[in-house]
């Protein structure tokens, strides 16, 4: 009997909004599913798409990328740069045939503790329903004699 599928979710969040928002989820004692692993960076501007690719490479079934709402960036414009990057990245990934239902981009502010919990739960449920990202996992290790 195989164990029920529990998705691996990796989240990249900025220090000032979403990380702080997730802290607020904690201080508010709002519960959410424990599948997510959060990586903290200073700003969404710092989130290189390479990080997302590596997370997929390492077997993430779902990915969350989140930072300050537009206009609220601690560094004034890092999130605007990030937004453009994601706009282009998303299209590139679609052209490559990557299942973009597995990558969620979001703005969660430091005040949105409940929203963070909701986001994590929604993403976890959705990715659980999609099942393991086997299509991607299959190519890891393939092409080696």
């Amino acid at each position: 009997m195989a164990e029920p599928f529990e998705p691996k979710i990796t989240a990249f969040v900025c220090n000032w909004c979403t990380y702080a928002g997730a802290d607020l989820t904690g201080t508010s004692r709002i519960k959410y599913q424990s599948n997510v692993r959060v990586l903290r960076v200073p700003c969404t501007g710092r989130i290189d798409y390479m990080m997302v690719l590596k997370a997929l490479h390492k077997g993430a079934d779902g990915i969350i990328v989140s930072g300050c709402h537009p206009n609220d960036c601690h560094y004034t414009s890092g999130n605007y740069h990030a937004r453009r990057r994601w706009m282009v990245f998303k299209k590139m990934m679609e052209v490559m045939g990557v299942d973009m239902r597995r990558i969620t981009f979001s703005w969660v502010s430091a005040a949105e503790g409940a929203r963070w919990a909701q986001l994590v739960n929604e993403v976890t449920d959705q990715v659980r329903a999609l099942g393991p990202y086997s299509e991607f996992r299959q190519i890891v290790g393939a092409g080696i004699e």
Partner: protein, 663 residues
């Protein structure tokens, strides 16, 4: 091999109740590179910190992961503790077991495993941490204040009194700004000049303040603590050292019919002039556009008469470059003109004036010596209509914001009028009365209740001239929109406060951001209201948004405090979480190819150009360089850099990659 210590905190029951901390500590012992792992009730307590410091020494730890609460809470605490045990503070990372795990998940295996995972990620990160040291930037302890109005004067005085040199740059011939034009000030109705002039004189005489009037900032290079500012000293056509300010030249100047800016066009002045009698410095300038000599090549009356021979017709503008440590912008505002209102006749009627013109009419030193005379025929106006929100809160005029000061000065104007013309009638059309401020609402009430000013809540739809009167057509919305028609002798428009002329160009010169209306942008609307996003450049007064005098002065003192704080050390110390461009031995020098695609990604203009030169001085390669004095460590450039030549200390590519590899 690293020797990392992992310290798992129970936080009392906060973590301990849902996470099996002892098991986590046990699991962490198996992570390669972990030399010591222990759990403890309260890591942040004195005994907890002491235990950690002892363990660092005993087990020769070179890195520490504290698995406790959010790093946003206690990272400084533990970094300090680690530093006290002789390990670089940046070799300490925190795993957020409380806010991100124990408080948000149910007790159980999965939660304990997640806790261990969170630690594992940071253990791998820390293997790639490098000791970091605070960045020191030398500071030139001279401030420059741009704008010599009440805000600029206050900043200059506060910094100067704090013991530092200040250069106060003002573009017009005298300091004083708009406040010197005002008659009385709300809510106390004290004479504006009476309270301002002493400050102007104090600024002029202060040993730490250098006045540069009739001067403008031309160029700004450098960065916090180390700006190089080039100022254009416009030619006064006068040797200031020789001029005694006797005023003979002004008396004798034959060209007397020039519209007077200080009096808002309601009076005249000569071609050689001081803007107003109390001007500081009290040295005239020659208005070369209007001076007969510059127009015809003849006259030179002033030169002939000057007792000290101070006139210099051939004098040219001078460029002065100064070393400056901090800059405060206090460039003020301008008022919207009356000619943009079609409904009010495009300002064609001389008796439709703006608030500043009213100030000059009411001022004892004004063109009418404070006697109420309307501009068209000099008659005493029997009925005056004041219209608040003229242009403000009006999208069609491009000013959706509230100009903030008009409610108060309109009440003041109505009162001043009533005090001067006791039999006169004063009406105020308004949208809302915004009188939030100490003694402000009381002031408005006084106007209504004691001085019998008629307040009508409604907009004026049209003004037209008829039989020497201005017919003001409006509506009273409190009376169900009933039409109101007032035959007035004079109308005062409280026109919108706008960003000053040239503020966008100045912002570009200084590399500070500005909003869509040309007001300078603060670094944070709530928590950093006097700073700009460019380190070392601060804001005071209405150049940032509409402000009244008390707010301007308060912000000015706030900005001054920031500057004095900055100047309190020889060196500026900054967090080393900054981006760096890698450097390599020749012939590569760096992985940077000098494409400068990163340049526009930086919110702080921290990216500079660096030239690698051969011994003979020939440029071999041009690289990007990040100025650590300006970089705030967001890392946007790092993600933009194709060659990975830029990296962010504290969140480096290697650190993040290592974290990702544990997933």
């Amino acid at each position: 091999m690293s020797r990392i210590g992992v310290f798992t905190c129970h936080c009392g029951e906060n973590i301990g109740a849902t996470v099996d901390c002892a098991k986590v500590a046990e699991m962490c012992k198996d992570i390669p590179g972990v030399a010591y792992s222990v759990d403890y009730k309260y890591m942040c307590s004195d005994p907890g910190q002491r235990m950690m410091q002892e363990a660092i020494k005993e087990h020769k730890l070179d890195g520490v992961v504290v698995a406790a609460c959010s790093p946003r809470m206690h990272e400084p605490t533990f970094r300090r503790a680690v530093a006290n045990a002789g390990v670089n503070p940046y070799m300490c990372e925190m795993a957020n077991l409380r806010e991100h795990c124990s408080w948000v998940h149910e007790k159980g295996e999965a939660t304990t495993h997640k806790a261990a995972d969170l630690i594992r990620v940071l253990v791998e990160k820390i293997k790639h941490n490098e000791p970091l040291f605070p960045i020191k930037v030398p500071v030139t302890r001279t401030a420059m204040v741009i704008g010599g109005g009440v805000g600029g004067i206050q900043v200059a005085l506060d910094i100067a009194n704090g013991g530092h040199k200040v250069v106060l740059v003002e573009k017009s011939p005298s300091i004083g700004g708009h406040m010197s034009q005002l008659s009385e000030t709300f809510p106390t109705l004290d004479c504006s000049q009476c309270i301002l002039t002493p400050r102007m004189v104090e600024a002029a005489q202060h040993p730490n303040i250098t006045l540069m009037t009739y001067s403008e900032v031309e160029k700004v290079d450098g960065f916090i603590g180390n700006f190089k500012v080039t100022v254009r000293k416009k030619a006064r056509k006068l040797d200031e050292k020789l001029c005694t300010g006797c005023g003979l030249c002004i008396q004798k100047c034959p060209n007397k019919k020039i519209s007077d800016e200080f009096n808002e066009g309601l009076g005249t002045r000569t071609a050689i002039y001081v803007p107003f009698p109390q001007a500081v410095p009290n040295k005239p300038v020659i208005d070369t556009l209007n001076c007969t000599f510059y127009k015809t090549g003849k006259c030179k009356v002033c030169e002939k008469l000057c007792p000290t021979g101070a006139i210099r017709f051939e004098q040219e503008d001078e460029l002065v470059t100064l070393d400056i440590g901090a800059i405060v912008l206090a460039t003020g505002f301008k008022l919207m003109k009356t000619d943009v209102f079609p409904e009010y006749g495009y300002g064609k009627s001389k008796d439709i004036i703006d608030g500043m013109q009213f100030e000059r009419l009411a001022s004892a030193s004004g063109p009418t010596s404070g006697v109420m005379k309307r501009p068209s025929d000099g008659k005493e106006p029997e009925t005056v209509v004041f219209i608040a929100c003229s242009g403000s809160r009006d999208r069609s005029k491009g000013v959706p914001y509230c100009s903030k000061i008009c409610c108060m000065y309109t009440a003041k104007h109505a009162m001043l009028y009533k005090h001067k013309v006791h039999s006169g009638k004063a009406y105020v059309f308004y949208m809302d009365i915004r009188a939030a401020g100490k003694d402000y609402d009381e002031f408005v009430r006084r106007a209504i209740e004691e001085d019998d000013v008629k307040y009508i809540r409604g907009r004026v739809s049209k003004i037209y001239e008829e039989d020497g009167k201005l017919v003001v057509m409006g509506a009273d919305t409190l009376m169900g929109g009933e039409p109101v028609e007032i035959r007035a002798d004079m109308v005062v428009l409280a026109t919108a406060v706008q960003s000053n002329e040239g503020s966008e160009e100045l912002a570009q010169t200084l590399h500070v951001s500005y909003d869509t209306y040309g007001f300078f942008a603060e670094a944070h609307p709530k928590l950093r209201p006097v700073e700009t996003n460019t380190a070392g450049i601060f804001l005071a007064g209405a150049c940032q948004a509409p402000r009244d005098i008390p707010e301007t002065v308060a912000q000015a003192s706030g900005a001054a405090a920031k500057v004095v704080g900055l100047f309190s050390n020889d060196e500026l110390t900054r967090e080393p979480i900054v981006a760096v461009v890698n450097r390599l031995p020749a012939p590569a020098y760096s992985h940077c190819v000098g494409c400068f695609l990163c340049l526009s990604a930086c919110p702080y203009q921290a990216i500079e150009q660096e030239e690698i030169k051969s011994r003979s001085g020939e440029v071999i390669k041009t690289l990007a360089r990040i100025n650590p004095g300006l970089c705030q460590g967001c890392g946007t450039c790092v993600a933009t850099c194709r060659t990975k030549a830029i990296d962010l200390q504290g969140f480096s590519n290697e650190q993040i990659y290592a974290e990702l590899m544990t997933l």
